[in-house]
Subunit: 356 residues, 2 copies
């Protein structure tokens, strides 16, 4: 693991580049806005840890009112539980006896739940909890696109029956998360996607007699919250934000808190080259956004090329902040998050679940 790129008290210019910066004032404003807006409605917030992969940021979300964290991989769930997070939902499926055993192990240390969409998963989890003696929560996942999840009431009933038959498993409810709806650009498209999800999940909830439905991300949670159907939302990006969310017609009401800091390593009248390429900022949702007057015209593994729109180019050595196209996979490239307040390093957080 790389040594921390900064120490508390450093000025930005002293931060080793490339580095991931978190503006702590913006992070805290985002926390206050979401947990202030949503908590009073009675809907639970289970913040998604896949965005930051960092137990300390998760603890701050829980302190702000989150009921616990989501994880998207077993490795993340293990890191969160072992860091003391008391309630973790693995909002994804796992396969194989080894992973089922690891899940049953952390279910003995905290309140842990997982999603299923196949009787074989239920059988593996049942065997693992029987062996460990722990109790694992289970959510039946409803498909919302073409990823994981079941599509029919019959499948839901079959899974529920198998879960009820396993002493170590507890049916907690449904997961219905419209992942691909988060970045639909028009509000009416997002509303249509959530309506379609409700139409599919509603009969399952009624058939199973469960009350709990979890889902919803940063791009759509006000829509789910307004339905009265969802009882828990799972936003992750809201504390960080990125350039892609800013392209939605009604962007989520959160401040850009995450930046990648690069440094000019080559300066020319028409362009500068930064030491931050797509090994430091993800490109799956497009290139990063540069400060005014600079336009990204090329991104390679270790370099960003920024065209200079006019005036003098930034000097050699100048630190430049980029807004990532997509926050989650950008965080996953870094071992450390440098917390900044007023241009000075105020904290350094380990991305403990990076790469797991």
């Amino acid at each position: 693991m790389r040594a921390p790129p900064a120490r508390v008290g450093d000025e930005l210019a002293a931060v080793d580049t490339p580095a991931l910066l978190l503006d702590l004032d913006a992070f805290e404003a985002n926390l206050g806005r979401l947990h202030g807006d949503v908590l009073p409605t009675g809907i639970a917030v289970r913040s998604h840890g896949k965005a930051h992969k960092c137990p300390e940021l998760g603890r701050r979300q829980i302190a702000a009112g989150a009921v616990g964290l989501c994880a998207q991989s077993l490795g993340e769930a293990e890191v969160f539980v072992r860091a003391g997070i008391a309630d973790v939902l693995l909002s994804n499926e796992v396969a194989g006896a080894d992973k089922a055993r690891r899940l049953a192990a952390i279910a003995g240390e905290a309140t842990v739940a997982v999603c299923v969409d196949d009787p074989q998963q239920v059988a593996e989890l049942a065997a693992a909890t029987a062996e460990s003696g722990s109790t694992l929560g289970v959510l039946i996942e409803v498909v919302t696109g073409r990823r994981c999840g079941i599509a029919t009431v019959e499948e839901a009933e079959r899974l529920a029956e198998a879960i009820h038959a396993a002493p170590g498993l507890e049916l907690r409810g449904l997961q219905a998360y419209a992942g691909s709806a988060q970045h639909l650009r028009q509000r009416r498209e997002r509303e249509a996607a959530i309506a379609a999800t409700l139409e599919r999940a509603g009969p399952m909830r009624d058939a199973l007699g469960v009350g709990h439905v979890t889902g919803a991300g940063t791009g759509t949670f006000p829509i789910e919250a307004a339905t009265g159907f969802w009882t828990e939302i799972q936003p992750g990006s809201y504390v960080l934000m990125d350039a892609d969310y800013a392209l939605n017609d009604e962007p989520p009401p959160f401040a850009q808190a995450l930046h990648v800091l690069g440094r000019v390593i080559s300066s020319h009248p028409d362009r500068v080259v930064l030491d931050a390429g797509h090994k430091a900022v993800s490109v799956d949702s497009g290139p990063p956004v540069a400060p005014d007057g600079l336009e990204p015209i090329g991104l390679s593994d270790e370099h960003a090329i920024l065209a200079v729109a006019g005036g003098a180019p930034p000097a050699l050595g100048a630190p430049i902040r980029l807004v990532p196209g997509h926050c989650d996979p950008t965080v996953n490239l870094h071992d450390w998050i440098v917390g900044v307040r007023g241009g000075v390093v105020a904290d350094v957080f380990a991305v403990e679940a990076r790469g797991v």
Copy 2:
């Protein structure tokens, strides 16, 4: 850092997913092919460590005949030197007194060189080596596209003068690396790019009276080698390979040695979902390639969705190998490379320079 995803002796099905696999027979065949083909011509091979970020694989390249390694970041160079690699070229520019000092420090432990394209870099390196008492090699970088490097003989002469005036710096020659030419699809396009590079670099070499010119990657090295101008090549991908190189009209003559191993976590008649998304396989050069009968139709952060072309879908839990679109940034997502021989884990290598 994640725990190793496999132990020596494990079958593939026991490897924790997602994981990065290196087929050791293919790796060794690639080593033999490049170092067997190129070494007899008298051109030096300085294997590029940015591809694997792994000192042990670098040691095997040196054992096969490489004169040393390239690094593309100071952090990589530090990892390589501290792992005992005796000769490292940082084939990139650095800016700032801190990085210059770190470079001067490793120059006291091994033969180290770096590229420059600006008098300020030379001044910073001169100050750092004066302070440390070490000797640092310097290469003047020739621009080949719009990234780092100088464009004129006058700039080269000014830099050379400043390097000669600094007791701790030694001018080693030129770097002329046509990075963007590596993936040009047609051989005539690649030849034209190398010819243009030679046309620019030739007069600089003659004006400076230097003999050494380093550059050339996996996609073009036979072209540079045929010119008689380059004295050293810097291929990196040749030991790993990827789907993007396979799209060149005359693909490099190396075997696909690198795969990302995912596992089916959701199986449906029309599709399967793997636990390997773009946090496990980079998408900057397009999606990964799946085995015959499976077609990637969606890649999100933690999932790959593969359409089933016909027949029964792979079973829940089945391990599936993906060929990465681009090897270097895919390796950078993983902490471990699982060496496999004949379908069994034979070695596990730490990606020690990941993220630096």
